[in-house]
Assembly symmetry: D2
Homo-oligomer: 346 residues x 4
Amino acid sequence: MIKAGIIGATGYAGGELVRILLGHPEVEVVWYGSKSYIEQKYADVYQNMFRLVEDVCREDDLEALAEEADVIFTATPQGYLAGILNENILSKTKVIDLSADYRIKDVDIYEAWYQIKHKSPQLIPEAVYGLCERNREQIKEARLVANPGCYPTCSFLSIYPLAARGYIDLSTLIIDAKSGTSGAGRGAKTDNLFCEVNENIKAYGVASHRHTPEMEEQLGIAAGEKVTLNFTPHLVPMNRGILITAYASLKEGVTTEQVRSAYEKEYEKERFLRLLPEGVCPQTKWVEGSNYVDVNAVCDSRTNRVIMMGAMDNLVKGAAGQAVQNMNLMFGLPEDLGLSLVPMFP
Amino acid sequence: MIKAGIIGATGYAGGELVRILLGHPEVEVVWYGSKSYIEQKYADVYQNMFRLVEDVCREDDLEALAEEADVIFTATPQGYLAGILNENILSKTKVIDLSADYRIKDVDIYEAWYQIKHKSPQLIPEAVYGLCERNREQIKEARLVANPGCYPTCSFLSIYPLAARGYIDLSTLIIDAKSGTSGAGRGAKTDNLFCEVNENIKAYGVASHRHTPEMEEQLGIAAGEKVTLNFTPHLVPMNRGILITAYASLKEGVTTEQVRSAYEKEYEKERFLRLLPEGVCPQTKWVEGSNYVDVNAVCDSRTNRVIMMGAMDNLVKGAAGQAVQNMNLMFGLPEDLGLSLVPMFP
Amino acid sequence: MIKAGIIGATGYAGGELVRILLGHPEVEVVWYGSKSYIEQKYADVYQNMFRLVEDVCREDDLEALAEEADVIFTATPQGYLAGILNENILSKTKVIDLSADYRIKDVDIYEAWYQIKHKSPQLIPEAVYGLCERNREQIKEARLVANPGCYPTCSFLSIYPLAARGYIDLSTLIIDAKSGTSGAGRGAKTDNLFCEVNENIKAYGVASHRHTPEMEEQLGIAAGEKVTLNFTPHLVPMNRGILITAYASLKEGVTTEQVRSAYEKEYEKERFLRLLPEGVCPQTKWVEGSNYVDVNAVCDSRTNRVIMMGAMDNLVKGAAGQAVQNMNLMFGLPEDLGLSLVPMFP
Amino acid sequence: MIKAGIIGATGYAGGELVRILLGHPEVEVVWYGSKSYIEQKYADVYQNMFRLVEDVCREDDLEALAEEADVIFTATPQGYLAGILNENILSKTKVIDLSADYRIKDVDIYEAWYQIKHKSPQLIPEAVYGLCERNREQIKEARLVANPGCYPTCSFLSIYPLAARGYIDLSTLIIDAKSGTSGAGRGAKTDNLFCEVNENIKAYGVASHRHTPEMEEQLGIAAGEKVTLNFTPHLVPMNRGILITAYASLKEGVTTEQVRSAYEKEYEKERFLRLLPEGVCPQTKWVEGSNYVDVNAVCDSRTNRVIMMGAMDNLVKGAAGQAVQNMNLMFGLPEDLGLSLVPMFP
């Protein structure tokens, strides 16, 4: 059994990790880390875990945890892990970081967008960007995996087949994203109260959201060119789910058939990517609770643009599920072990 | 592998059966029956099943299905199964009926409340009321199981430990229930449109809901006396979940400790019953997607009443999950096989 | 023009007062009091008021406000007003208190349930319980009105016609209430986050909610006997609305016709009480945004109980609307001035 | 008093017309037309109107209604009004059409997108496109007003100040829209059931929604050039509200100051347009129940694009409210008479 520790186990992503790992046949959770609920029973914080988890929450002590765990998941605020991670820890245990600390290779860009001084830039080069469908082989060898952001995961996977083939003019790329409210975390803020979110929709972080450079860097690597794009997230009154609607101009001569074929070739062997039948739009509800990303694209001959769409569960493929997928790869397990989660409807 | 057929696979309870059976290691679904979607791909009706179910829907032909299946689940309108079930079918296959046709032993009461002439009353005596926690041994031997109604399941399990011990005056019993909207089914009715249900709550079927006699009969059997109660269901703007708040006067001399102890003794060995810590109220969200029923009780010394509370997922323990639990018993499998569903939060 | 000041204008009840008073032809709001947003523009806190309210928030200074205002609305935490109100203030201005400080005549009961030492018990006798339908004449003469609680308002009005006539056995009275989340206020608490409330229902304050003694006292006055009842509130995933489902045994010989007639007689001349047609259940959505209370009752001959139901908007008739109705009475204006709010559907 | 008739009074837009007209001091509704509920009490269909509307529904007889009414609102399916409207009717009464029949000047485009043969194309030239902020003077003289679509209203008003000044490259214009579910109407369709919409978001009508040509035509007229754009609507789990997020490249040399100034100049005198403070994003909740459109724009110097945002209530400014605004203009009344609706929050 793999011994797993979770730093930040009482946030929503941490809770989802627990839910998934409880059903994983090769993993045992040995450490429920929490800053806010130390010494409290985990099941008192997340009552769904009553009689399933008997442990109490322990402090977020990475050094101590490294002695006990084969793998550590960190679901912590930006900058936290970068401040405490070091070679000693990585020599003892594998780390899968759900924060943004090691996602962006260009540390200047990280520091500019996150407004944080990076405390361990020397570790960035070895960190592997944990988008399994893209970096599978490197992940298998990694000690440190940067689990991708929720928006970048869904955006990248919706756009990648066309970007990689040079089918779209990336200078025209616009990503309009919609997310459920669990993406905002479990912090007690007025803006996230039920009465403020319910019956409401708004854009936020317009032209300034910190997932932008992550998408630009990854799409740039995939396409072999510098990418600058517009990204606008919106907050939707639902618990889970991200929907991406992305727009780009097709390069001259690219046909509808080529577009469809690109997705087919890219994703036909992917366990968690579902290219929907032509004309069927992704809906977040159809992937809820699962590790799937549903994608599709529509070509508009009037404007010569393609509309690329993707839907996933932000807490699963956008956080905990993808982290477990990464863990499976890192430990030589079947990639989908413990991840055969059937989407729940309704 | 057990071959299972589903009549009414495209309703919400049928869809949930498919979701659960896909994760069951000993079952293969061989027949996706549907009245409305014959010849259509099942995954076109329930897009969450895309790439998970390749079958097309077949007509609701019970005779033909009996030749192919080891067990048939019927999630059909009231009266439908009673009109077509017969000894020949039961001699070939086991039947688990999610409708109300065989739940009520007193056929006059069935006909009075359902306003339907029962077409096969001769089969009622052998049908076992499929509340596993109560009728486990008979279910193991049954050919025909009447899967309990959603409200009766949650109500009975919330009240039973006190009723069976004679701790409450059953003539004072009032059950106030709240249900998510999936309980109303997938029929296209104006009353169930998003804009009619959302931001709204109402009582319905006041003093006339058809689950009333089912509760009365079962509580009556458990308590050894005739029970007449008030039951008021309410429609709540959420997809899943039933919450029961039940009220009764405590018999003279019954103490708070006895009340707590009754639940403890009754449920300490039950896999799917969770007696919450003292003072913690059940919430539907904490059991969503799982087969659990969370219960608790509060004694009010001012009024000498006990408030009994229970929460469950109406589509799981209230329908498909309990049906699979019954199937496990009928086939000699571990009762929780395929049912280790961790509640999803949020 | 009546000059009105609001202490606690940035809570949900305070915001609703502003919404209603903006449409009132005889009132001008001169003071937007707030503890948390002093010196900030009110419209920055409540963006719906952009271009409608230009004022900035001022501190909660009752003495200063009494110099400026003809009437003060206090939507403040329990105990706050009792600590600062005095004869001097009441000699200069009228006060309508939306907190519980002056609702309960028996100060011992107030202190026991609220766990607060009452700081100005000498003012309790002159405070009029501001349920307009019940205490209209006293309100007209009052300097200090205790605006009723949301649950007590809806409960009392649903039960009163039968309680006053001695038609029900009050020792059997049970009130099961369901409320939208705005009733929980705008404080930033984890329990009230969108993801915690959405897709969820729970009971809270079981056998201990502080609105219980208020209902008992008022129903006791109406019925001329001591009342002890069970009250269980539930939190529902919607913004607004309270639904009451109350149960009591009918006294011997009381007929269905008498029950209906009681409501008809009591409410036929009431502007804001709507007795629905027989068989139609109240729904919160049908009164949203208005000052109406919709009521109805069903007699159950099987159990000889009556189920009394009521629906209202907790922020209007349950708080701000009723406060304005009180103000109208206190200033000799038509009772419904500024309150002709048509319910908004959907 | 203006006598008003409503054809299609039992749809959501019709119901909202009734709500608004009940509060209008100069209008009396004399005809509640309905295809589905003839002879039924209107308040039985919309229970919020209990005791407010005593009328029964009448058939949709335009000829008869023209004899009785000074103005007719038609909230009917596409093609219906075009099939029955004629010069005789227009000689007797004014008509405000909430359907799309007379919105598009180019009848070929109408027929191509709506797949309907237009039955009265001779009336199109005289129909005035009823966007009050744009066509105020023509509306005052009109007999027939084509009330704009919900998406076009919000989109046009969000984009117009920049389009009219040539500040944006209209060939790059992309409109990503999000709508509450009341926009889908009150028809009983499975897709609009609570359980299908709740906890879900999807795009629909991608590259094919029928509001596209209406926007293209109106923006084209405003800009003096042919416009071809991408429009993608999304269905959001809320009752009311439309949010527009539109993207376009800024023309060379256009500054952030010019962009802000364009909105300021265009809307400073508009009663129902609110340009929010810099940096504040529109939210649908802040305009709910009102006739406001909240707009704002953000310039992104990295991509040289402007993101234009607008929020409104689809049933008010997007349907019934704008219709009443048009009526006020047509009858020489103050444009905002009966429309001083304060947004309701929460």
